[in-house]
Symmetry: C2
Subunit: 227 residues, 2 copies
DNA sequence: CGGCGTTTTGAGATATCTCAATGGGAGTGG
DNA sequence: CCACTCCCATTGAGATATCTCAAAACGCCG
């Protein structure tokens, strides 16, 4: 399960010496950026956890695989999201770009070292993990309790909340059906059938080769999601 | 969904003035203890989040309900676990004792105030939330990808890891079948059937009116759980 | 234009759910 | 001390949502 990591990195300006007093955001400006092709891994289960990443462009699927190959996507990380936080030792999850993406690499050890003395940064990391926890819980409820149509509706609504630009009702599905299936605990076929069912109900409209979805009837879709 | 909270509290020694410099553990010693009957709530969705609780005795089920009553248990909290962390504003989850229990009540605002200046405490809270995140992810994988028998096996193995005293292979199910069902995204009947199936396979043995399970063949059970 | 990866659609198989009845244990009151 | 009740767990039989396997359609890139 260990993938090669061709590191097409781009080095930005080096941070000045004594940078330990810089804030997280300030440090970001000096971090290394890494470009990823679709399906390329940011890290794999078992890798040493030496970096934390911030998504700059694209979408990163964070997932866990069972020994027999089944896979559960834990989260899709969008620009601005941090991944690789909240783990000690080696990675227990893998992270893979679903479309060409860019991530900013931050040294985990440096981050930790600073957090030990900088309560502000520690609190920032804390809140970031809390947000992640809330999102994971929400997904757990979806996967554990909802029907296929409710799961897909909930996914679309959540995606809209996270990525909607101003008042647009459209969302871009920047991942394959198999990724959505592995997030929702369904099969590809069920996801596909459910999307066409929603279209038949005139709740959504599908365009651009299935990658763009217009949530025509967002209120009804939200209702279908059961909250 | 707002339950009455008969607060049968026991006040311990008051903390000395200027307690802001005390550690989390030291503060615990001065906190209020609350006794709970089986099914009594620690807090409900929508309640103000003014306390964080540490379980002292018993088991607390942390859960979320959908509008139509379906319920997903997020976690069973055992003695030593903190609940109510990582939330801002009001509670989005409910917490209920599955058996008679005791919790220690800690002021959330005091904790936050201290964490702002005390990096050590902030880091402690951070690690606690990280642990919770890891547990929730693991449950998500179970619920999203595993079959009924795998889910029940995984639940028993996890319970054993968490509560096993020395080399004992027995675990106590300190909750009803409906609680296990709502944790695993199954029905009561499926949980029951699966347990009897595991017994028929001689992987477990059930005693004491179904509340005590002996994991006779722990290796095989672990294998059945798929990791 | 051909080939490849992906999505959609179909039809049959099945794991789990639903509904319903039975059984067991703990507590209560006669 | 027994009978009664209540709650929970178990078991059964039939219903169904989702999965599996298979084929066809689509879109993209060389």
């Amino acid at each position: 399960m260990l993938a090669a990591h061709p590191r097409q990195t781009v080095h930005a300006k080096r941070p000045p010496a004594g940078s330990a007093s810089f804030s997280l955001d300030e440090r970001m400006a000096y971090a290394t950026v890494r470009r990823l092709l679709a399906k390329e891994h940011v890290f794999c289960e078992g890798d040493d956890r030496d970096h934390v990443f911030r998504v700059e462009e694209g979408v990163i699927a964070v997932y866990k695989t069972l020994p027999d190959g089944r896979r559960q996507i834990i989260d899709f990380a969008y620009p601005g999201d941090l991944i690789g936080l909240g783990v000690l030792g080696e990675h227990v999850l893998s992270a893979q770009a679903t479309v060409p993406s860019k991530v900013r690499c931050l040294s985990a050890s440096a981050l930790e070292r600073i957090a030990e003395t900088d309560a502000g940064l520690a609190l920032k990391l804390y809140k970031s993990v809390c947000q992640e926890l809330a999102a994971t819980r929400s997904l757990l409820v979806t996967v554990g309790q909802r029907s296929a149509i409710e799961r897909v509706a909930a996914f679309l609504v959540a995606l809209h909340r996270r990525t909607a630009t101003d008042g647009s009702t459209a969302v871009k599905l920047a991942m394959r059906r198999s990724d959505i299936a592995d997030l929702l605990g369904l099969t590809i076929e069920t996801v596909s059938r459910t999307l066409t069912k929603l279209r038949a109900m005139s709740v959504i409209d599908i365009g651009q080769g299935g990658t763009r979805v217009d949530l025509c009837d967002l209120p009804r879709l939200t209702e279908l999601a059961n909250e």
